[in-house]
């Protein structure tokens, strides 16, 4: 295929004409409505999708914080009693009960490890 063949091929076609409504849009629409079409910006959609994917991945990769251990309500009530049922004592009592529970679990794990070492 030579240059004249390409030019002949090009001349068998021509760029499409504008749509019929363009003239009306340009000449009759209020000026503030003319400057932009209502097409959704593809890059904005892509950015939103990327953000959603990133957040989704983050949610699946980062484990949720450990659920707080179940609190022993009786122990909490006892501590509240010890604190004289002062204002805010319920919060402090719950915190102390959780710390005690956690310390007890650590001590139990340490004892189990020590027993395992002794057996070996």
């Amino acid at each position: 295929m030579q240059d004249p063949d390409i030019e002949r091929l090009l001349r068998r076609y021509r760029p499409l004409p504008p749509s019929e409504h363009l003239f009306g849009q340009i000449t009759t629409a209020p000026q503030h409505q003319i400057s932009k079409s209502h097409r959704t910006w593809p890059w904005a959609v892509a950015a939103a999708a990327l953000l959603a994917i990133t957040l989704g991945l983050h949610a699946t990769v980062v484990p949720p914080p450990d659920a707080p251990p179940a609190v022993d309500r009786q122990r909490v009530e006892a501590i509240i009693e010890d604190l004289g049922r002062a204002r805010g004592s319920d919060v402090i009592a719950e915190w102390i009960a959780r710390r005690e529970f956690s310390a007890e679990q650590d001590a139990r794990a340490a004892r189990a490890t020590a027993a395992e070492i002794v057996r070996q």
């Binding site: 091929l9 021509r14 760029p15 504008p18 363009l22 340009i26």
Partner: protein, 161 residues
Amino acid sequence: MGDDAGDDRRRFVAAVYAESGPRLYRYALMILADRQDAEDVLQQVFAAVLSKPALPRIDDEGAYFRTAVRNAAYSLLRTRRTARDAAEQILEPVVPGCSPAEQVALEQALRALPPEQREVVHLHVYEGMTFQEVANATTASINTVAARYRYALDKMRKLIG
């Protein structure tokens, strides 16, 4: 906009569009290879005229609007972030016996060209400009224009076979 100046501008825009709208649209379409973008550019250009407090003083309307469309089209290309739909039709047959396969191949070859090369092909082939006239219209040297045309035809030949 109901004032006399506004009506004048609308009449002026309507007259220019009736005279040159389809030609300007085809020019924008060949630079951008996207119909919606081409419409956006034309609306932007004419809206700019409508928004002026007075009609611009224009000696050569054809050249004025062609340059305005060109500037708006390349400005849009600079901000364009996504590829356009390669399946969208940008040409229409003007002679009988054109095959859809031939048209698709030609459109794909045109899309593969840089906008500057498509622009030169358009102005030379479809608007019948000489290379010197294309150079004047695009503020490029005649050598640059001739080289762009040569590269464009070489690439199209390779792609179409």
